[in-house]
């Protein structure tokens, strides 16, 4: 007879709430009449994510390993779960925006209808609204929250798939520019499956060498000498799989295409939440399983950080589409985040963990806000994301331009914004660990990246408006809320970051 494993229900509450909301969402899809489905789905998804956020706050200070050692509920897991739940709730609000698109939703009514077919054109104008996106997104959020708490490589893999599959689907659901969206979904799926295979292969190698998939037992096998070729090779493959999700160069090639093709609300969700989840897993893997043999991963992360910063900053310069530009910005920021990972130091003695977690929060908020602004600027064919269309926006829509400028300055790392505090924290962590050459490269990359953020500011304020430029939609309550929260948080984390930094410092604990 199989004994029921010992579960700490309280410690699992955030996960249970989100997965519960997702499952209930599927039932809603089946049983609730279409007329009220949208508000019910939005309410349910928000209740799940906000409830999870509240649960993580209540759980603060918990440090335990539960579910027969498969899950670790510790400071870092809870803080990252709270970040994912909070950013996820904001993303869901962007999904729920109905006043911007004339067709009342940014999502396609029926994704299965071939793009461009008569039926598709017919559906493009019906005011019916797609509500399956909410349970899908909630599942992805649940997967991400599981991902950062996984104390076991198998659970980590399952979580990776749970978070990835809904994202593949969501990417293909844009109401406009359907082919671009479908191409993005296929590309993301194929490359994502490839990366999952890497992860799985690495998992198998690690299991073969260590005899266990539990992180603590892997650590015992690793010791300080790395534990042999098989383990190190397994580590490398695992890291490759994770770097793919985190869109770190040279595993970033999907990022611009998928960011551009996916509905902007989904892009915002991916840019903010997937990044947090992927880095949460990277930190846990490197810290818990391989923390005693820092030399095994340090060169790899070092090289990937430099590649990512340089590729993101330099290719970002050449972009003419805002969504693609923000995608390369995401690649560059992944490199900055890896600088913080280097700051973990030997056996995790550095301040890198707290710094990276703070950076994830700051970057997530800022990038979410930037994408939210992108949804406002529209022309007849949907969102106007080409750079030239933003010329002179400052004169026509001063508040939108000002908010976008704030986010861009934060992404560039100008002081008094969240971006600066985050950069300072990760660079300090890296320099403390003697990685000052990496910090210098990071600073130079920041300067290059600042140039393309500035270009948008220049266009918005210093260029004359184009004749038949896009219109700036009046956002409904959800998007307004998102913009207000993200803008306020971007400023607050820049001017008075003390409390949050302190929280990150105290939460920088891994058990397992």
């Amino acid at each position: 007879m199989i004994e029921a494993p010992d579960l700490s229900w309280a410690a699992l509450a955030p996960l249970l709430l989100v997965f519960g909301a997702a499952c209930a969402g599927i039932l809603v899809e089946a049983f609730v009449p279409r007329s009220v489905r949208h508000p019910v789905q939005v309410g349910l998804a928000l209740a799940g994510t906000v409830g999870a956020l509240a649960a993580t706050v209540l759980l603060a200070g918990t440090r335990e390993v539960t579910a027969v050692g498969a899950l670790a509920v510790d400071g870092a897991a809870l803080l990252l779960q709270a970040t994912i739940a909070g950013l996820g709730a904001l993303s869901l609000l962007l999904f729920a925006e109905r006043s911007l698109d004339p067709a009342r939703s940014a999502f396609v009514v029926s994704a299965a209808v071939p793009a461009g077919s008569p039926r598709d054109r017919e559906l493009a104008t019906v005011p019916r609204v797609q509500t399956e996106v909410y349970p899908l997104a909630t599942f992805a959020i649940g997967g991400m929250m599981l991902f950062v708490a996984a104390n076991d490589l198998l659970v980590m893999f399952v979580a990776l798939e749970v978070l990835s599959l809904p994202l593949y689907l969501l990417s293909g659901m844009a109401r406009r520019r359907r082919l671009l969206s479908q191409e993005a979904a296929v590309k993301y799926f194929l490359l994502g499956a490839f990366a999952s295979a890497f992860f799985l292969y690495g998992l198998a190698l690690v299991y073969g060498a260590a005899g266990s998939v539990r992180l603590s037992e892997v650590r015992a096998a690793v010791g300080t000498d790395g534990g042999g070729v098989l383990l190190v090779l397994g580590l490398a493959l695992l890291v490759v799989g994770l770097l793919f999700k985190a869109s770190v160069a040279p595993f970033h090639t999907w990022t611009p295409d998928v960011y551009q093709g996916a509905p902007t609300a989904v892009t915002a969700f991916m840019a903010a939440c997937t990044k947090v989840a992927a880095f949460g897993a990277i930190l846990r893997l490197l810290y818990v399983a391989f923390g005693t043999a820092e030399w095994t991963w340090r060169p790899l992360v070092y090289a990937a950080a430099i590649a990512s910063m340089v590729v993101g900053a330099v290719l970002g310069l050449t972009q003419t589409d805002l969504k693609r530009m923000l995608a390369y910005s995401s690649v560059a920021h992944a490199g900055f985040l890896l600088t913080g990972v280097i700051g973990l130091g030997a056996a995790g003695t550095g301040s890198g963990l707290a710094a990276t977690m703070f950076y994830l929060l700051a970057y997530g908020i800022t990038t979410l806000g930037a994408f939210a602004v992108l949804t406002l600027v529209r022309d007849g064919d949907g969102e106007a994301s080409h750079l030239s269309q933003w010329a002179g926006l400052g004169a026509r829509s001063p508040i939108t331009a000002a908010v976008m400028t704030l986010f861009l300055l934060a992404l560039a790392g100008i002081p008094l914004t969240a971006g600066f505090t985050g950069k300072f924290a990760v660079f300090r962590a890296a320099i403390e660990q003697g990685a000052w050459p990496l910090a210098v490269v990071a600073l130079l990359a920041s300067a290059v990246a600042a140039f393309f953020y500035l270009r948008v500011v220049v266009l918005m304020y210093f260029s004359e408006p184009v004749a038949d430029g896009p219109t700036v939609g009046v956002p409904g309550v959800p998007t307004t809320l998102v913009l207000a929260v993200t803008a306020a948080a971007t400023l607050a984390l820049g001017i008075v970051p003390g409390a949050v930094l302190d929280l990150a410092g105290r939460a920088a604990i891994f058990v397992g």
């Binding site: 707290a354 004169a395 300055l409 560039a412 100008i414 002081p415 008094l416 600066f420 505090t421 300072f424 924290a425 660079f427 300090r428 320099i431 403390e432 000052w436 910090a439 210098v440 600073l443 130079l444 920041s446 300067a447 600042a450 140039f451 500035l454 270009r455 220049v458 304020y461 210093f462 260029s463 004359e464 008075v496 970051p497 003390g498 930094l501 302190d502 410092g505």
Partner: protein
């Protein structure tokens, strides 16, 4: 009264003022200007009261306030002034109201709302005060970088035809310098953590650290590059002529008058005391850059046809003198350099303002487009002359005292560099007087020349004087209004200050000298005679 947080008030008042001005409705342009003028006058009052509350013979840093800001980084919101910072704050207090008054019509009728211009101006004032009064290295850095944003928008939104290019160039140059400095700032923090067990950004504590000379040399470079871009020293100066020429006149005054002083202020406040060994090691190199800058920029200034570019180049030349004074490591030279920072702010500020008034009349920045203006606008010409003479450091103007102090203070230590720098004074006379002579004297010519109307001009300066027919029919004569009341109110205080400081600079020297002595003590350098 000494408990009153003077320094915090001088940051908060303009910052709040900026928010108020920005929140005014678009059609209340006049109110925006009045609020901006009022706020900047309040700051001037605060600066004067701060000076009165400051005891020149007291401890080095006074009026200090400190509250924990980011405990995790060991950084405090710590403010305090020594004599050097105090005179810079006074300079800001004096210049900003004048800039507001001088820019009264700057943004009128443009595509961008008037209130935005004045809101950025006030925000810039708050940042500038902050950068000089911060006594926490991280706080200083934050102001140093944040200061770029208002200036970037002033140049980019309200500047001349090539404003986009100039604004981006300004921002990128400064940002690169700032980021290099950030590496050093973090480096200093990490070093302090290694020595003290816990990292700190407190200036007082950092000056007492004994940093390994090799490490010093690396960290020094990070600070030096940032400040040398800001100051700017040759060869990192190329952004200034563009920014100075394209910025609106008010922005240019603050850019050259105050913002660039942050660079030289940084040399004396941060480079010397934090990295004494490295400062001595790199001093010959810095002095070469300084002297090359004095001569090269002066030669370039002579070759300019654009008045605003010319004034920008003169500044680069003058910054060479300031750097020379700072890196000579003597009390006289250091005091002279700091005094020069003030006097240069006044003199070049006045020069930019007067040039701006001339440009506002003719609509062209080219020297060749003007001539014989003095005959019709004697007050304008007079102000131009005073500004020019102050710029070339004629005795009787404030600049003379400071330049003289720098040269006699540097000579015993660095005779060769000093002698070479002296050549810059001769060149200064050439570029200033040539510009003055070509625009103000000689035959009437250029854009201000207009065909005479059938009847004599109404108003002052016109009338019968046009009878001096120099050109064949159709009769053309120079039509230019002399300084108006608002312009006189802008120019007069600066002219007065330049002349007063030319004959009686002692009060400022009394403020500056103890701080310079303290800086050189921090360095452990042999400070020369202090009996000035």
């Amino acid at each position: 009264m000494s408990d009153f947080p003077w320094l915090l008030a001088m940051i908060a008042v303009p910052a709040i003022g900026a928010a108020v001005v920005a929140a005014l409705p678009r059609e209340r342009a006049l109110l925006a200007k009045q609020v901006a003028l009022g706020v900047s006058l309040v700051v001037l009052l605060l600066a004067v009261l701060t000076t009165l509350a400051f005891d020149a013979g007291g401890p080095r840093f006074q009026l200090t306030t400190s509250v924990p800001w980011i405990p995790d980084f060991g950084s405090d919101f710590a403010l305090g002034v020594d004599g050097i910072a105090l005179v810079m704050v006074l300079l800001i207090g004096v210049l900003v109201p004048l800039v507001v008054a001088a820019s009264w019509h700057e943004a009128d009728g443009g595509p961008r709302p008037v209130r935005v211009f004045f809101a950025w101006l006030l925000l810039l004032e708050a940042m500038m005060v902050g950068v000089f009064v911060a006594t926490d290295l991280l706080l200083f850095y934050v102001f140093f970088e944040a200061m770029l944003v208002p200036m970037y928008f002033l140049i980019g939104s309200f500047g001349g035809p090539r404003r986009q290019y100039a604004a981006v160039k300004f921002f990128v140059y400064s940002l690169v310098g700032g980021l290099v400095m950030l590496a050093s700032v973090i480096g200093v923090y990490v070093v302090s953590a290694g020595v003290l067990g816990e990292g700190t950004f407190a200036f007082d504590t950092l000056t007492r650290l004994d940093i390994d000379p090799d490490v010093q040399r690396l960290l020094f470079l990070g600070f030096f590059i940032a400040f040398a871009i800001k100051a700017p020293l040759v060869p990192l100066h190329t952004w200034l002529p563009d920014s100075g020429a394209e910025a609106p006149v008010g922005g240019a005054v603050l850019l050259v008058g105050v913002l660039d002083k942050v660079g030289t202020f940084g040399f004396i406040r941060y480079c010397l005391p934090l990295f004494p060994d490295a400062s001595r090691f790199y001093a010959p190199f810095v002095l070469v850059l300084a002297v090359v800058g004095i001569l090269y920029a002066a030669l370039l200034a002579m070759g300019q046809s654009d008045m605003k570019r010319l004034v920008s180049y003169t500044s680069i030349s003058h910054f060479g003198f300031i750097a020379l004074g700072i890196f000579a490591f003597t009390t006289e030279a250091g005091t002279g350099a700091v005094l020069y920072m003030v006097n240069h702010g006044l003199a070049t500020g006045l020069l930019f303002l007067v040039v701006g008034m001339l440009i506002a009349r003719g609509g062209s920045r080219r020297i060749a487009d003007y001539g014989g203006v003095a005959a019709k606008a004697p007050l304008l010409a007079g102000a131009f002359l005073v500004a020019g003479l102050a710029s070339l450091a004629l005795p009787g103007t404030g600049s003379f005292v400071s330049e003289f102090l720098v040269l006699i203070g540097s000579f015993p230590e660095r005779p060769v560099f000093t002698v070479l720098a002296t050549l810059g004074i001769i060149l200064a006379a050439l570029y200033v007087l040539l510009m003055y002579q070509r625009t103000m004297h000689g035959p009437a010519r250029g854009v201000l020349l207009q065909e005479d109307p059938a009847e004599p001009l109404p108003g002052a300066g016109g009338g019968g004087a046009t009878a001096t027919a120099t050109l064949p029919a159709p009769q053309r004569s120079l039509r230019v209004a002399d300084l108006g009341r608002r312009e006189i109110a802008v120019v007069a205080p600066l002219v007065a200050l330049i002349l007063v400081l030319g004959v009686y600079p002692q009060p400022l020297i009394d403020l500056i000298e103890p701080a310079v002595v303290a800086t050189l003590d921090d360095m452990g350098a042999a400070s020369g005679g202090t009996d000035r």
